[in-house]
């Protein structure tokens, strides 16, 4: 049975919306941390449907396919190298130092306060 253009696109649209709702529902299931894998699996399926049904990747020329494959391959290689570097490096993060606000000089005299407000850098540059 040959589907018309409208029928084919409507079928793909329904498939995409159903998959979207499936990934939404699957995100709330207690899958012991496999929810992200399920969500990404469905996302790959949806992306493949768009790639094949709308972008006609299967019918595109070999150089165009190679161009996309080169991009994906490069991302995978660079990601693997980055993951390798991250996994084998000793992680010794520096202590977090949140920015601090000095307390205001409430009891200082006006003249003294203006002098104190001048930063050492400003003083040095003016000198």
């Amino acid at each position: 049975m040959k589907l018309s253009l409208h029928q084919r696109l409507a079928a793909v649209w329904m498939g995409l919306i159903l998959l979207m709702l499936t990934s939404l529902g699957g995100a709330y299931l207690p899958l012991q941390g496999w929810n992200v894998a399920l969500g990404m699996g469905i996302a790959c399926l949806k992306a493949g449907m768009v790639l094949w049904c709308f972008m006609h990747f299967g019918r595109t020329s070999t150089p165009a396919r190679l161009a996309l494959a080169a991009g994906v391959f490069t991302v995978l290689v660079l990601s693997a190298l980055s993951a390798l570097e991250g996994a084998t490096r000793a992680s010794e993060p520096a202590a977090m130092q949140p920015p601090r606000q000095l307390p205001p000089l409430r009891d200082a005299a006006p003249l003294k306060r203006s002098t104190a407000a001048r930063s050492p850098a400003t003083t040095a540059s003016s000198d």
Partner: protein, 196 residues
């Protein structure tokens, strides 16, 4: 192969090369997300629960529908004005909803920086990536919406420059922007929703 067909194939090839560079572009951001999720799984899960899943799902549905409309305009024997106009309207609706989401994030103090609402480690990094990825996607979508709008106008006025080949290239770009969102949706909106 005729000169016209050769030219069309060259243009198509050029666009696929461009899309390949876009894969590299967004791939680096996805790697940063994966790195953060591995190091701070709790912070990322908590932060992800603070994104607006309803608006995110609505936006996903809008983009998927717009892609169908663009495919209809590209594959129809004659370019269809209404499908291009509808796709443009859906693109604008997506951007408006995204703006609404950003407004809610601002109200809930989810903008990274001083006074950030979530104390969990990694939560702030999640929202930094969330804003960078969604904003970059929105810029791409804005360009695509503009292109579709121009093509809708050209189609209604039967402009000579609007050739099926050019419409096909615009469609390829739009579908790619759709694919980027399809990947972002589970990472930003669905991760960490389940109560284990």
């Amino acid at each position: 192969m005729s000169v016209e067909a050769d030219r069309a194939e060259t243009a198509r090839f050029g666009l696929w090369i461009f899309l390949s560079t876009e894969v590299l572009f967004f791939g680096a951001l996805l790697l940063a997300y994966a790195w953060g999720r591995v190091y701070w799984p709790e912070g990322f899960a908590t932060a992800s629960r603070h994104t607006d899943v309803l608006l995110g799902t609505l936006n996903t549905g809008l983009l998927l529908t717009s892609s169908v409309l663009v495919a209809l305009a590209v594959e129809s024997p004659a370019p269809r004005v209404w499908s291009l106009l509808m796709a443009t309207a859906l693109g604008l609706a997506f951007l408006a909803i995204k703006g609404l989401e950003y407004r809610h994030d601002w109200r809930d103090a989810l903008i990274p920086g001083p006074g950030f609402a979530l104390p969990e480690r990694g939560a702030q990094l999640f929202f930094e990536l969330y804003f960078v990825m969604t904003a970059l996607h929105a810029v791409h979508l804005l360009i695509g919406t503009g292109v579709l709008g121009i093509f809708a106008w050209g189609s209604s006025s039967r402009a000579a420059w609007l050739t099926p080949q050019r419409l096909e290239l615009a469609g390829l770009y739009w579908h790619f922007v759709d694919i980027v969102w399809i990947v972002l949706y589970p990472l930003l909106y669905l991760a960490g929703r389940a109560v284990q």
